[in-house]
Structure formats: structure tokens, C-alpha cells
Symmetry: C2
Subunit: 398 residues, 2 copies
């Protein structure tokens, strides 16, 4: 049997032949969570402008303390001292702050300073620029903006940022049998549940899903939808129709366009996946089964989205689990296994859910984790420990 191309090979070849176009836009910092900067940013202001007290206290002139605590009985608030709380600036005549705990101020405004207090110039004062200094780097190109990054940008008084546009990923479900969510399900119908899966996976990746209604299994309609999607999106995902059946129009369409790079890959479910480049845009046909969509979106579309976003793919939560049943797989294929995860006193126990036959598809999609079989390995035995990637937060299993 001929070795089909691996996921790695497909992505490498696609990235070799494809020249992604960088599209950026200017957006308010307040709307930039999880967006990726297209350039470095430096602070446009210095804070404190002059200085600030770093505690609640009173500001004084240190030179008057050269010989110990001076007589403060005649001192006037606003002349000889002033209140200076954390973050406050104060008149230039003062150069030190005594903590509020070390003084008392009477109702008449008379200041008394505890005898043990030592006062030196600059004491308890943060200098200009200690929060931020004009020109300080505040956020880096090609970094996903976290809440902390946004507050750094704000400290630097940056109001707008240039970010990569969210990659527009068109999703075109195809299939005569599909009816939209909420429709009556008649004999021979299936609900288009892949659209909601794909749309939400795309949202999580930081892409902008461009969702299309179901196209029937008809070559002309599918070609028309593809053309429209190629105008509107950066990447097109066709879904369904890629194996060997009469209705497998999508894969033929990509081949006819003369741009198919791969058809059939060493990854299942979804082995008949077809990858192409049309007008320098990746067009991927993912087979219809929900788990094929999950896998194809995960290894192929996710890589493409992150390439357009200029960020590495996020590492996801993994756990080490002991297998309770064998996982057998052809060593030439990377098989996605949907896994049940149990947390026991001895640690995690994991077991493959059947993805064909056995439990329902809904039960399969409700798996807690995924495991992908290794090339060159045909079996993992009960008792072996494997690393699985969680589909929910680990807290859901504890």
C-alpha cells in the first residue's frame, strides 16, 4: 500500500507553495483582546510626569531633617509640609515623604513626627518614568494581546493598534441530506451540525468565520459557492463530498481547477481530505463526518489560521493517562481517537471511544480528550501511559 502524505507533509507543502498576504487594520486598544500586533509599540508618555509618592504620607523638605526631627509646632500644612498619598505629585519644594503611620496631624492641622523617623532626600518617592517612560517598549509585534498587554499599551497612552486582520475562513457545507438546525428532520435527512462546530472552532482560533448555507450536491452550485467564497474569504473550507461516491463533487471540483495539492491523506477520520491552492488561497475539502471535521479543522485549518496570524499554535492542556483498552491502528496512519477520561485515585485512566458503530455520534463528540496514534506504531497496550489532549478544562475531570 502506498504511503499517503502525512499531516506534516501536507502543511509543509501548502506553506511552501502559498504566499500568505498580510492584511492589517487599525483598531482601538479596548477591542484588541487576543488580536495579534502587526508592529511593535512604545510608550508615548512618561508617568509619573515628574514624580509620585509611593505611600500614603506627608511630603517634607529633607534639608530640615539634617540634624534630626525639627520643631514642627509652627509648621503650616501647604507651606512646610503637605499630604501626599500613594501616587500623588506635590509641590517642588518637598523632596521626601514620611509614611502616614509615622506622623499625627491634629484637628487644627498641627504635624507631629515620631522621634525615630529618619528623613532623606527622595525617600518614598517614585521618580518620573517609574510607571512608564516615553519610548519604553510596551508590546511586541506578532504577540497575541493579553489583558496585561492591553494595560501596558494603555499606560503608554496608545489608543489604537495595528493588528493582523482576523483571517476570514469560509465554511461551505454540502450535501443533499443536510437540513439546517431547527428544521424538521425527515427520512434521509441529517442536521447540518458541522457548521456550528466549525464556526465555533474558528472563533476560538481567532479567525472570522464566513458561514454559507448548505449547497446541494450539484457541481454547478458548488462551483458558484466556491467562487463567491474565494472573493469573500482568505481561506475556503468545503465540507462533505470527497470520497468516491456519486456526490463527491467537491474533490473533483478542486482537481478540475488544476490546483489540488493532495487528495487522501494519512490521517483519519477524514482520510479523503483534499487540499488545493486557488488564486493563492488555500481551499480545503474536509469529509462530512463530524469527527473528520473536528480533526481536519484541528490539524489543517488551525495551522493555516495561525500562519495568517503570525503566532505559534497554542499548546493545549494535556494529561498523562493509563490506557484501559488497547488502541490498534494502521502504523501508516495518524488516527484521531476520541477518548473517555476518568480521574481516579491512581491518576487518569483513558479509553478510546468507538467512532464508528458502538456509541452514537453525539456520544463520541462528547469525548473528554483526543489522542492521535503515532506513525510506525500499530498498537498501544492496556497499562501503557499515553498523553492525551483535553477537549475541556482539566477542572471538569477532577
Amino acid at each position: 500500500m502506498e504511503q499517503l502524505p502525512t499531516r506534516k507533509k501536507v502543511i509543509e507543502t501548502l506553506f511552501e507553495k502559498w504566499t500568505p498576504e498580510d492584511k492589517t487594520e487599525l483598531i482601538p486598544v479596548s477591542a484588541a483582546l487576543n488580536r495579534v500586533l502587526a508592529r511593535d509599540y512604545a510608550a508615548s508618555c512618561t508617568i509619573p510626569v515628574v514624580r509620585a509618592s509611593c505611600m500614603d504620607g506627608v511630603a517634607v523638605m529633607s534639608e530640615r531633617f539634617r540634624d534630626g526631627i525639627p520643631d514642627t509646632s509652627e509648621w503650616k500644612n501647604g507651606e512646610d509640609f503637605c499630604r501626599a498619598d500613594t501616587g500623588d505629585d506635590f509641590d517642588d519644594r518637598y523632596d521626601a515623604v514620611i509614611p502616614i503611620e509615622a506622623v499625627t496631624i491634629s484637628d487644627e492641622g498641627k504635624l507631629t513626627i515620631m522621634p525615630e523617623v529618619k528623613v532623606t532626600s527622595g525617600m518614598n518617592i517614585r521618580p518620573a518614568g517609574s510607571t512608564i517612560r516615553k519610548g519604553d517598549p510596551v508590546a511586541k509585534k506578532n504577540r497575541r494581546l493579553r489583558p496585561f498587554d492591553l494595560s501596558c499599551l494603555a499606560m503608554g497612552n496608545i489608543t489604537e493598534v495595528e493588528v493582523y486582520r482576523k483571517p476570514r475562513i469560509a465554511f461551505l457545507p454540502t450535501g443533499n441530506e443536510l437540513v439546517p438546525l431547527g428544521a424538521e428532520v425527515r427520512r434521509g435527512n441529517n442536521i447540518d451540525s458541522n457548521s456550528i462546530l466549525a464556526e465555533n472552532l474558528l472563533l476560538e482560533m481567532g479567525a472570522e468565520p464566513v458561514m454559507y448555507p448548505v449547497t446541494a450536491d450539484c457541481a454547478e452550485d458548488t462551483a458558484a459557492s466556491l467562487d463567491r467564497a474565494l472573493k469573500e474569504a482568505d481561506v475556503v473550507v468545503l465540507n462533505g463530498g470527497s470520497s468516491k461516491g456519486e456526490e463527491d463533487i467537491n474533490a473533483r471540483l478542486l482537481e478540475e481547477r488544476g490546483a489540488a495539492l493532495f487528495h487522501w491523506v494519512a490521517a483519519a477520520p477524514g482520510k479523503p481530505l483534499c487540499a488545493a491552492l486557488i488564486d493563492n488561497k488555500p481551499v480545503i475539502n474536509i469529509p462530512g463526518p463530524p469527527v473528520a471535521v473536528l480533526y481536519g479543522m484541528d490539524w489543517c485549518i488551525r495551522a493555516i489560521v495561525h500562519r495568517l496570524l503570525h503566532v505559534p499554535m497554542p499548546k493545549r492542556q494535556t494529561i498523562q493517562g493509563v490506557l484501559t483498552e488497547e488502541i490498534a491502528a494502521p502504523p501508516t496512519m495518524e488516527i484521531l481517537c476520541m477518548m473517555d477520561v476518568d480521574h481516579t485515585e491512581e491518576g487518569y485512566r483513558v479509553r478510546q471511544k468507538p467512532w464508528k458503530g458502538g456509541g452514537s455520534m453525539a456520544d463520541t463528540l462528547g469525548a473528554g480528550a483526543i489522542y492521535i496514534t503515532e506513525l510506525g506504531v500499530s498498537s498501544k497496550q492496556p497499562g501503557e501511559t499515553v498523553e492525551v489532549t483535553l477537549l475541556r478544562g482539566e477542572e471538569d475531570f477532577l
Copy 2:
């Protein structure tokens, strides 16, 4: 020195005295990513309604194959057999599907079946309900909805779901020195960068931030803002003014309302945090420094939001890092340390960033991870391994 209440104690006491009100709403499944279900859901339809082919092939009558491959030279498409691709239903007279690879269909529609083919009733057919069966559980109460959950709900033809309303968390920045992002920064001014930090942390938690403009340090204005926020939100966060200075109106306000549960906690930065219950709503005053906001939002507000959402707090990505410098801390306090993280050939090396003095506040907020000192431990030595919680994805460090 008296032991201040720990974070754990503050949260426990608050949760003891507070009776959170469950508020739910009905929303479309398509808009329910990361929302939390307020009830269980079961499928409202069965798919396939009757059955479906599980491969691309031809549907036939198995009884004709009892004595081996029959003579198919006179068979007519649509009478004696029909095409049945993956997912297709077909006429009741057929009860088995032969894979397309095992037959040929001539241009005239004549079927030829390879001699080695064995045909049994039900072969390659998925029965009714193998995708989903009416009444099958599709999603559980008190679970955050992941893309896979949404597709399970869609498979069950559930169009709307009852979810907990996003907790409305009001954020009220206070301070005479604060100017909004984008304003000119004059001597004594500071930019309100905490609002953008808090707002985006709240969004990440799954809350609905209700943001207020800056209130000056004035008791009447602050009381009015608090009253308004108590009407509009489930939880109120005041920010600034909680230590001992003249402008520390917020903490006094909570104490005057007779509802303060705690003022001063064994957690820094942000030790003067003040927690109260007013009208059965948590009101938290978090001190002004950005790192105090980060910490207070993280241990206190996050716990409150997850309590309202009925889900455990997400476990975050952690790494084991070797300290390159000592971390010293009072053993009675849980100190938040902002950490630099370096990935080396020998693994991760971590080091505390100074949060007062030293680097700028912006630099401090740009830390890669946080570490919280343990109660009862006064020092961690260079060379010791500590677990730190990452503030970015691990992929950013590799």
C-alpha cells in the same frame, strides 16, 4: 503581628454569608460558546430517522446473495439496486450496501460485482439513531459549552438553550489623578489603565463587564456611583482608595454601609483590599496599583464570577521552573510575584521581577508568569524548583 485573613478565609466567609441569585436566559445555540447551561438537554430527534449507508456504494437485497453472487446482467438501477453514498438513506427493499470499490457500473448502468464479495443483511448500514437518538443526553447542566457541545446540541436539533446570565461585574475606578486613555497626561496625572485590564480579565472569565468612568476622590460621588452600580450589576468592584490616606474614601464607604466583611488581607500587592456584602451583592474594593488589580481580580473576583457561573475555576497552564534568584517573603502573607520566564536547554529558569522600584510598572506587567508565595514559607532559594502559572501560552516561551 496579628495574622490577617487569608485569601481562602475571605472567599469562604463571603460565600457563607452571600446567597447568589441564579439568573438564566434563553439564547440561540449558535451564540452559546463558553456559556454555562442551566439545565440538562436531551436530543429532540433521531438521526438517521430510518438508516443510512456508512460508505459509498450500492444498496442491494441480501436475500439474492444467499447462494453467492447472482447474475446481475439484467439488473436495473433503481429496481434491483441503487447507489447509496455515505449517509444516504434508500428504499426499504434494500438491506445491504456493497462498497463502491467492489463493483463497477457501466455507462449503460449495468452492475458488475466482484466475485469475492460477501453480502449479509444490514451490511454497511448504520441503523436509526446511530448518530443520535431522541432522548439521548446531549449536554449537561453546569458545563461550559465547548464547540463539540454545541454540535451535539445541534445534532439533537436543540436550537435554544437556557444558560446562566453572564455575571454583571461593575468596575468603578476612583482617583483624582486618573485621566482616561488618550487624554493628555499632565503633572500629577496617571492614565486609568486598570479599567482596560479589569474589563478584559472579566471578558476572559465569561463575565459581562459594566464599566464606569473615573470617579474623583469624593465621598458623595463615590457613594452615588456605588448605588448606581448596585442597581445595574451583580457584583461591584471599586478600585483605588483603600489604604490609610486622605483619599481612602472607598474602604470607609464600605465600612459605613455596615457591611464590610474584611479590610486588609494576607495577600499583597493589594493588602488593603476590602470585601463587603451590600444588598446581598459582593462589593470589593481593590487597591490602585495595577499588580494589585491583577491579583485581586484573580483570586477574589474570579472566584465570585465562577460561583455565579456554577463552574469550577479553570486550571491554567503552569510550568516547573528553577529559581535563579531568592524569593523572600513574610511567611504570614501570600505575595504575588511577577516572574520572568526563560526557556533554556535544561528547562525553564524563572526569576521574580521587582514590583516596586527597579523596572517600570509596564515592564512588571509584561511578566510571563505569576508565582504566589506559600504561607509559612519565608524564602525560596536559587536552585529550588517552583511551579509558576503562565500569563501567556507556553508556545510563546519556546
